[in-house]
């Protein structure tokens, strides 16, 4: 039996990985640049840039509107996670049954994800208008979903959930369909209730996939921008001013690049930490699922 010599054996994984790493090393420069600018008073259009250390960070940390924005971002992400994973799981479980016509349903469910979020949000704006079809169907009269202080963020959540739940559904469905069948057949013969089977068999094996979808949804949710830009632009007042939207205003409209980038560095850090946490959960559930 030819046994590969130890060097090429150890080098093999790196060969597999290197091309991908190479491609994306380019993000390093923008990252370092952004980090540097966040430590300056850089304004778009000013010729002189002065290094001011952590002053930008001190300013935003003592600004109520920054904390409010961060809070909104965190709350929005948490709520969308709960909604989307919950609904996505329910959808995947439903679609995992081989009833007649299920193929059609499986193909159709992914449709909302195919709309570019900016376009979907614009269309939802029309649907959610005071004289739009949503009010028509729910019987509400002249209610402004996106224009009322307290309803704007929940309305955006509805749009977000509508667009992204299919993402969760597709991944969980593929996960469900890759699970081995015999344990189920055995459990059913033994007379286990559906809930019991789900809790002890399905869920543990599905957990890795759930955490992966949670991971990607968390990263994207924290960065939410498109939907808000297309509809409320952070309003009414600041009720939907999530962090990246706020940074957009600070940088592209008010030209305070240094300040905006400090906010984005904070966001980057939050995403980093949340991802580490979720990857940890994923790794543990993956080990458990694979019985290692």
């Amino acid at each position: 039996m030819p046994i590969k010599n130890s060097f090429s054996r150890r080098a093999v994984p790196y060969f597999f990985v290197l091309p991908a790493l190479f491609l994306t090393i380019g993000i390093l420069y923008p990252f370092i640049l952004s980090l540097y600018y966040s430590l300056t008073d850089y304004r778009l259009g000013s010729a002189a840039i002065e290094f001011i250390g952590f002053k930008n960070y001190l300013v935003i940390f003592s600004s109520a509107s920054f904390w409010r924005s961060l809070g909104l971002t965190a709350g929005y992400t948490a709520a969308s996670l709960v909604l989307q994973i919950g609904l996505g799981l329910a959808g995947a479980l439903l679609l995992n049954n081989d009833v007649k016509g299920i193929q059609v349903a499986r193909s159709l469910i992914i449709l909302p994800l195919m709309m570019p979020p900016v376009v979907a949000a614009l269309m939802w704006k029309v649907i959610m208008a005071p004289n739009g079809v949503l009010n028509y169907l729910t019987g509400l009269v002249q209610f402004s979903w996106l224009g009322t202080n307290t309803a704007a963020l929940p309305s955006l959540l509805i749009i977000d959930t509508w667009i992204y739940t299919p993402f969760v559904t597709v991944i969980l469905l593929a996960g469900l369909r890759s699970l081995p069948q015999e344990p189920y057949e055995a459990a059913v013969l033994d007379g286990g209730s559906p809930w019991f089977i789900f809790r002890t068999l399905t869920l543990p094996l599905l957990k890795p996939f759930i955490f992966i979808t949670a991971l990607f949804r968390t990263i994207d949710s924290l960065k939410t921008f498109d939907i808000i830009y297309a509809t409320t632009k952070g309003g009414p007042g600041s009720s939907t001013m999530l962090l990246q939207v706020k940074a957009y205003f600070e940088s592209f409209r008010h030209y305070s690049m240094g300040s905006a980038l400090s906010m984005m560095m904070v966001l980057w850090l939050v995403i980093f930490v949340m991802s580490r946490v979720l990857v940890g959960f994923w790794a543990r559930s993956s080990r458990q699922a694979l019985g290692r």
């Binding site: 590969k4 597999f16 990985v17 091309p19 991908a20 790493l21 491609l23 994306t24 380019g26 923008p30 990252f31 952004s34 679609l95 009833v99 193929q103 349903a105 499986r106 193909s107 159709l108 469910i109 992914i110 449709l111 909302p112 195919m114 709309m115 570019p116 900016v118 376009v119 269309m123 939802w124 029309v126 649907i127 004289n131 028509y136 509508w162 739940t165 993402f167 597709v170 991944i171 593929a174 996960g175 369909r177 890759s178 069948q181 015999e182 890795p208 990607f216 990263i219 921008f225 990246q244 940074a247 592209f252 905006a260 984005m264 560095m265 966001l267 995403i271 991802s275 790794a283 993956s286």
Partner: protein, 291 residues
């Protein structure tokens, strides 16, 4: 035997529940799209009417306008840039996904199968490319692209889209590769096959369903991206998402044309998803392998 009638009743009840659940889901998912489809068949006047119209005489003028650049009534002229943007999206998105697959799937395999130094760090690095808030990095990338001559090029766009597609492909495929039982590959190793041929001939075919859904998803995310196309491209390379927003003109929002454009935009995604859907059925056979 005596359980049969009760069993049948239970089965039917179960079926009814399942069907109603699915129908509810589909209504929620599809009604807005149905409404947008109706919008694409209405004139602008009908769209902005004060009471939502379910019944109207459909017209194809919006589709004509975006595909053939018919001059709309009034001062608005639609030029047929839409086809160009559509072509751009096709080229850029397919290119990005193909590159990510070629480069990311082997990486995912390595992360799933091998133990090597810095493995988890490298894996996390791949993931971290998706962390970058677009607002933070868009200007530096713009500057780099300008100086490297990548601005307004297909290659430039395919490269930057890797930020979207590569982390997705690497991490999700990693999960599917890990699902393959070691025993199968060990057996092949003992038979003397090299890592590369195991990867190609055994592992890859086994993850085809997962590969399919991951490819679809990354295609969709890349297709839907807006900001990179806007900033790093110009009219020669604008993707269809930027084009669709162009229907917000100075005169008015051409809702009808925007809706028609949205419908046309979804088309390639639907076609690709349909063909790849067939592979999801094969998921059953994968379970059977794990005997």
């Amino acid at each position: 035997m005596k359980n049969r009638p009760r069993q049948n009743a239970k089965d039917t009840r179960k079926k009814v529940l399942i069907y109603s659940g699915i129908v509810l889901f589909l209504i929620f998912a599809l009604f807005p799209i149905f409404w947008i489809f109706l919008m694409s068949l209405k004139t602008d006047k009908e769209i902005i009417a004060s009471i939502p119209k379910f019944f109207f005489r459909p017209t194809l003028e919006n589709y004509e306008a975006i595909l053939f650049g018919l001059k709309a009534a009034g001062t608005e002229t639609s030029r047929p840039d839409f086809i160009l943007y559509f072509k751009n999206s096709l080229i850029i998105t397919s290119g990005a996904v193909i590159v990510s697959l070629l480069v990311g799937v082997p990486a995912a395999y390595a992360l799933a199968r091998f133990k090597f130094k810095f493995k988890e760090d490298i894996a996390f690095t791949f993931l971290s490319f998706r962390f970058a808030p677009e607002i933070a990095v868009i200007i530096p990338i713009f500057v780099i692209y300008r100086s490297l001559g990548l601005y307004n090029t297909y290659i430039g766009m395919i490269l930057v889209y890797q930020l979207i597609t590569l982390p997705l492909i690497v991490w999700i495929m990693r999960g599917y590769f890990e699902d393959i039982p070691d025993s199968i590959e060990q057996a092949a190793r003992l038979d003397g096959y090299s890592w590369f041929s195991i990867f190609r001939k055994i592992s890859l075919p086994l993850v085809k369903p997962g590969l399919a859904s991951t490819a679809i998803l990354s295609f969709i995310f890349a297709w839907n991206n807006f900001i990179f196309g806007l900033v790093l491209g110009a009219k020669e390379t604008f993707p269809v998402t930027v084009g669709t927003l162009g229907f917000i003109s100075y005169e008015s929002v051409l809702w009808g044309q925007m809706a028609a454009a949205s419908m046309v935009t979804i088309l390639p995604e639907i076609i690709i998803a349909f063909f790849i859907q067939k592979y999801l059925v094969r998921g059953l056979s994968l379970g059977a392998v794990r005997g």
